[in-house]
């Protein structure tokens, strides 16, 4: 498998705080790589390092096979586009001026891509409106358009749907999928909205305390996510007694619902529950979500590092 980004034991310290603590991951070419981690896990720090904004304290990383301290790294970075935290745009310029500025900086022969990109991100009709007067979603889309100037092979998106309305989220999702499928752009994306990420990502990297806890493909994740039966009953305490007697793994969700992680003879279960005066209201097959998998992987503790540095 060909990788566009490889990191090896990457560390970044801010004084005594370890933002990255031996982060090692590989981003396969052509994938949509979802970086999952809670606040302060090191995702944004990692993206900043990739963009050249910061130097790692130790370890190394490669972009398109070129190590960060080698001469050709600037050339490799030219194949990248990125939106990290906030979109990089000049607020006193229009959308078109921002894109033209980027074209000029990249040395593109003309501005033919400008209109196409504005159309692609849905900003074709913004005219002379300055970016400072854009809504958050429009700024985010303009940031992505700027990142797409020069037809990058790799797109890095840090929380690209933060602050977007539901319509905006769907638009950005479709845009990312289109870029990946039609233009074969590798996308590395982080998001707190894991449900949304699960609709996009083909690979996952789970980050906790500055290191990758697990890397897996979407297929592997599907297989790893446990299936269960979600039951709604009149009395989960009674159900717990029955399930304990049957030696079955379960999880009580509320006073009336519980997940059962086993294959059962439901006629027997139903009879046993009747014996305890507990009625079954509903029963559905349920997949453990990405969120559930992530929590079971890194533990459900509170965010003790509330913010990225």
């Amino acid at each position: 498998m060909e990788y566009v980004i490889k990191t090896n034991d990457l560390k970044k310290n801010y004084k005594s705080f370890k933002a990255l603590d031996g982060l090692s991951l590989n981003v396969p070419k052509g994938s949509i790589y979802g970086l999952v981690g809670r606040n302060g896990a090191g995702k944004t720090t990692f993206f900043r390092i990739l963009c050249g904004l910061q130097e790692p304290s130790s370890g190394d990383y490669e972009i398109y096979g070129v190590k960060y301290n080698e001469k050709g790294i600037n050339k490799s970075r030219r194949r990248m586009g990125a939106v990290v935290e906030t979109p990089s745009i000049y607020l006193d310029m229009t959308a078109q001026q921002n894109l033209k500025y980027q074209c000029r900086m990249l040395g593109l022969p003309d501005y033919s891509c400008v209109d196409e990109l504005l159309k692609l991100v849905g900003l074709a009709n913004t005219g002379k409106k300055k970016a400072k007067n854009f809504s958050l979603g429009m700024k985010q889309r303009l940031g992505i358009a700027v990142a797409l100037v020069g037809e990058p092979d790799l797109l890095i998106l840090d929380e690209p749907i933060n602050g977007l309305d539901p319509q905006g989220i769907v638009e950005i999702r479709e845009l990312i999928l289109r870029l990946n499928r039609e233009k074969e752009i590798t996308v590395m994306i982080s998001s707190h909205i894991l449900d949304e990420l699960s609709k996009l990502a083909t690979y996952y990297g789970f980050v906790d305390h500055g290191r990758v806890v697990k890397e897996m493909s979407a297929e592997e994740l599907d297989n790893s996510c446990r299936k269960c039966i979600r039951m709604e009953v009149t009395d989960t305490a009674a159900m717990a007694r029955v399930l304990d007697n049957m030696g079955v793994e379960y999880k009580i969700l509320s006073e009336t619902s519980a997940d059962i992680f086993a294959k059962l003879n439901f006629s027997k279960l139903s009879d046993a529950l009747s014996g305890e005066n507990c009625e079954v209201i509903s029963m559905n097959e349920h997949d453990e979500s990405l969120e559930g998998f992530f929590i079971s992987l890194v533990g459900g503790g509170r965010n003790d590092q509330a913010s990225e540095n």
Binding site: G52, R77, G81, Q102
Partner: protein
């Protein structure tokens, strides 16, 4: 780097900031002469010393550079646009040097624009100037080196603090402190400085004009109270600070005392502050 330079020059000269600073300097350059002319008309003065107005642009260059550099380079941090430059294959050193080149060029243009507008107004309204044009050009050239030095200093602050708001505050405070220090040092080192300062660009009496005419191009450090290290340190600031240089330009008919030191110090300040700035900027963690 060339692409970045071209792009940044285009951003600078098409942006509102540059033209606002130009407009401010045009108004400043014309207003002093117009005010002097109005005062001359209302009174009955035969001698008018307007040469000082040619150098007010340089005296105020500290503040002009503080605002221009902090807004031009400082907004890169607030808007996160440095990231685009790095991703476009530029190095942090390249970005820094490019900012220095663009800000210096813009401020030198503003400096000369101020000079020529003030010169034109002086010539049109009063007919002649005290200094010769060739000396004025030489002084402006030393001033241009000073402008680059001030720009380099302000850019160093801006790139280290990485915030437009903090940068503009720190740079303006620095410019004001330097100006106050210059006036204090000149007063201390020059016996005739107060008299010269009092003369100003306004209309002066014939007696005072005679004093100014006698001393204005021969004075230098003539303090009888300062010696040794203290004198050397104060002389360093006297020769190296742009405002001090500009205040002295405005009273000289020929190249001022220690003009060679001014040139050397301007170049040295540019090099040292740029070196400190580049090294610090390369080590800093950007967002």
């Amino acid at each position: 780097m060339i692409r970045l330079l071209r792009t940044e020059f285009a951003r600078c000269f098409t942006g509102k900031l540059f033209w606002l600073v130009v407009l401010f300097n045009v108004v400043l350059a014309s207003s002093f002469n117009v005010l002097t002319y109005a005062t001359t008309k209302s009174g009955d003065f035969s001698n008018v010393f307007t040469d000082k107005t040619l150098y007010i642009g340089l005296i105020s260059m500290g503040l002009t550079a503080a605002v221009f550099v902090a807004f031009h380079a400082g907004s890169e941090f607030d808007e996160g646009t440095i990231r685009n430059k790095l991703i476009a294959g530029n190095t942090k050193t390249g970005i820094y040097i490019c900012d220095l080149a663009v800000c210096s060029a813009a401020l030198i243009i503003i400096q000369y624009l101020y000079f020529f507008i003030a010169y034109a107004f002086s010539y049109i309204l009063f007919g002649a100037l005290h200094h010769s044009f060739s000396v004025m050009m030489q002084l402006q050239l030393i001033g241009a080196l000073g402008t680059v030095a001030v720009t380099a200093f302000m850019l160093m602050i801006t790139m280290i603090v990485r915030s437009r708001t903090i940068a503009v505050t720190v740079c303006m405070i620095a410019a004001i402190v330097f100006f106050i220090a210059c006036v204090a040092i000149i007063n201390e080192l020059e016996e005739h400085s107060m008299e010269l300062l009092d003369a100003g660009p306004e209309i002066i009496s014939a007696e005072k004009y005679a004093v100014l005419d006698k001393y204005s191009y021969v004075y230098g450090v003539d303090s009888e109270n300062l010696f040794g290290t203290e004198l050397a340190v104060k002389e360093f600031f006297y020769d190296s600070l742009l405002q001090s240089q500009a205040l002295r330009f405005s009273d000289e008919r020929s190249l001022p005392y220690h003009w060679e030191f001014m040139v050397i110090y301007n170049i040295a300040i540019t090099l040292v502050t740029t070196l400190i700035g580049v090294v610090s900027f390369r080590r800093l963690d950007l967002k």
